[in-house]
């Protein structure tokens, strides 16, 4: 349904490196006795994809694979160290301040920890109402009313608007976070593990809320989670990340029905299913490598059951496969990974 919709966000080779500059002492020590310099973490490595208007893009991957970093770059909290992010075709980095502010407001984020993402010293009415007033979306006099409206929309009781965040339950706090994002009338909502801290019964409430809002407001979502069940449930398309790279990107149905990349396959095989069938757990062999020191070539090759020696040297590009899906494995289609 959204295949034809215009792209709203385009990521072009986006990368982010975290590095501490070595100080003089570290450099001297490096020269003298070869002490290691402070490590560089390539948290996100050359990621490109397009998000179309109105779609839900799921972003899955194991801990430390760079999901949050990517989400933060898209939402403008972090700036990419390489690559470009385009909003409605315009490069965010090249915009004027006012444009960037407008684009930034259009891309909002809902955070994982419902407590630490809310300022503990502000009342809910200010948490939600501050930005729209500051940006002139509503007049200061209307703030109260506007906030009530927002709270109702996310299923909060407006009479609680003068309370502080810590006086709410986890699910309610998540709703406050959503209301805060909605208050600036965004087009894109980035949800970074927005339900991870919640109980299942509350999680389902919030997931339903997301879907309702999408229907009502035509929002575009980037939905980050390590919980495959959740991502599968809500997404139209899914990108799978491994150690900073996107290894596979496909429609949700296709991906789950027929994963192409060996990592995706292994991952899907390990996801516990709500099926009352006793099964033998096995797990992908090996540990998750440290992002400080990722394996050469294809990051997945040490754990890959079908790897060939070339995988250790060659970095596979994200290729388009039949059916419009993308995967970063050179072995696909060569019969080895079948």
């Amino acid at each position: 349904m959204t295949d034809t919709a215009p792209p709203i966000l385009q990521l072009e080779g986006v990368g982010r490196v975290f590095a501490r500059k070595p100080d003089i002492a570290a450099r001297i020590a490096h020269k003298l006795v070869g002490s290691p310099l402070p490590p560089r973490v390539r948290a996100v490595d050359d990621v490109s994809f397009t998000v179309r208007q109105g779609e839900v893009l799921g972003l899955v991957g194991e801990s430390g694979c760079g999901k949050s970093t990517l989400a933060r770059m898209i939402s403008g909290i972090l700036s990419p160290t390489s690559g470009r992010i385009r909003f409605e075709g315009a490069d965010m980095a090249a915009m004027s301040a006012a444009e960037r502010r407008r684009a930034g407001l259009a891309v909002q984020m809902v955070f994982q920890d419902p407590m630490s993402s809310l300022n503990p010293r502000l009342r809910v009415v200010d948490i939600i109402g501050e930005a729209p007033v500051a940006h002139g979306l509503v007049k200061p006099a209307d703030q109260d009313g506007y906030v009530c409206e927002m709270m109702e929309r996310v299923g909060l009781d407006p009479s609680t608007r003068y309370l502080y965040a810590h006086q709410f339950s986890g699910g309610q706090r998540a709703r406050i976070g959503i209301a805060r994002a909605l208050a600036v009338q965004p087009r894109v909502l980035i949800c970074d593990e927005s339900t991870a801290a919640l109980d299942v019964s509350i999680q389902s409430q919030i997931l339903n809320l997301f879907m309702d809002l999408r229907a009502q407001m035509g929002l575009t979502y980037i939905f980050v989670s390590h919980d495959l069940g959740v991502v599968q449930h809500i997404s139209d398309r899914i990108a799978v990340m491994y150690l900073g790279r996107v290894v596979e990107l496909a429609g949700a149905e296709e991906l789950f029905a027929d994963p192409q990349h060996p990592y995706t396959r292994a991952l899907l095989a390990e996801v516990p299913r709500l099926e009352p069938k006793k099964r033998q757990f096995t797990g992908i062999k090996g540990e998750m490598p440290s992002p400080l020191n990722p394996p050469s070539g294809c990051h997945f090759h040490p754990r890959c059951s079908v790897a060939v020696p070339a995988c250790a040297t060659r970095r596979p590009a994200l290729r388009e496969l039949p059916g419009g899906r993308l995967a970063a494995c050179d072995l696909i289609g060569e019969g080895v990974a079948g």
């Binding site: 403008g76 407001l105 994982q112 500051a134 009313g145 009530c148 600036v184």
Partner: protein, 301 residues
């Protein structure tokens, strides 16, 4: 559209009120705050309630000196807590001394706190070379015992309340700088600050409306403890003979003057001001301890 402004709201609760309620859950803290308020009250009212103005040389007479508690002075007044070597009524001297000690503590903390907090937040917010230079200086400061710095400074400055305060400010600002920078760094990493940038709020607004207020609680705790610290340090310095002027003794100086008479049985000159000093400091520390607990989410649960 509804008329949402008309939506009835639950009564506003104030964070201060909530914390005050938590504060008084501890009986010892209540004792502390009561003693403290009382001390502050009598310090403020000293000129009106003290039987004598111990700074007015017209009112004291060496012929009255060394009267034991309850002794009668030449003027017919009773010195309930005795008199010192100058013939000062100890009770009056203590009330005025308390005034000096408390104001030295408060003023020092206010000035040092303002300087330290500004430097600390600036360091955390500006970062880079500025931060590393500032923090080096702070480290240097904290590595060296404050009493030595203050002692040397005061030996150079000479005596005087203003000089004591300057010396104490020089000694103490670094504590605030470190505390505020530390909590600013922690707060900066929290998602609500990230949320501010997603919401495109201006930097100054983030700094003053979001960051600074959340750095205040640890600052308050440190400040409370440092009031006690400043009073202690002042009294120690006065005890060592480098502090307030002799004619306007603080509690520490009164103790110091009474020290030489203590061994010959004239205990009251040193003991009474000592007891008052200790009471006040304990009270402050009790309050500080309670604040530390209620303002620290990890301890209060």
């Amino acid at each position: 559209m509804s008329t949402p402004a008309a939506t009835p709201a639950l009564p506003k609760q104030n964070i201060l009120r909530i914390q005050a309620a938590k504060f008084i859950e501890s009986p010892t803290a209540i004792v502390g705050i009561v003693v403290l308020l009382l001390a502050a009250l009598i310090a403020v009212l000293a000129p009106w309630i003290a039987p004598q103005n111990p700074y007015d040389l017209m009112q004291i007479d060496i012929m009255d000196n060394m009267l034991p508690p309850g002794g009668e002075m030449m003027s017919g007044q009773i010195a309930w807590l005795g008199t010192d070597a100058q013939g000062r009524d100890m009770l009056s001297a203590m009330l005025y001394g308390l005034r000096i000690s408390l104001s030295v503590g408060l003023v020092t903390v206010l000035i040092a706190g303002a300087i330290g907090a500004t430097v600390g937040v600036a360091a955390a917010f500006i970062g880079g070379r500025f931060e590393s230079i500032v923090m080096r200086i702070v480290d240097l400061h904290l590595a060296f015992p404050s009493i030595l710095i203050a002692l040397v400074l005061l030996s150079a400055f000479g005596r005087g309340i203003d000089k004591v305060i300057i010396a104490l400010v020089i000694v103490q600002w670094a504590y605030y700088a470190r505390t505020v920078r530390g909590s600013a760094l922690v707060e900066t990493r929290k998602d609500y600050i990230a949320a501010c940038s997603v919401l495109q709020l201006p930097r100054w607004r983030v700094l003053f409306r979001h960051l600074l207020p959340n750095c205040i609680p640890p600052l308050i705790v440190v400040a409370t403890v440092q009031v006690a610290g400043a009073i202690l340090l002042e009294s120690t310095l006065s005890f060592l003979g480098a502090g307030v002027p002799v004619t306007e003794p603080s509690l520490g100086m009164l103790i110091s003057q009474g020290y030489s008479y203590m061994l010959s049985g004239k205990y009251w000159i040193a003991v009474f001001p000592g007891v008052l000093l200790v009471l006040v400091i304990i009270a402050i520390n009790l309050v500080g301890d309670r604040l530390r607990i209620i303002l620290n989410p990890r301890l209060s649960s």
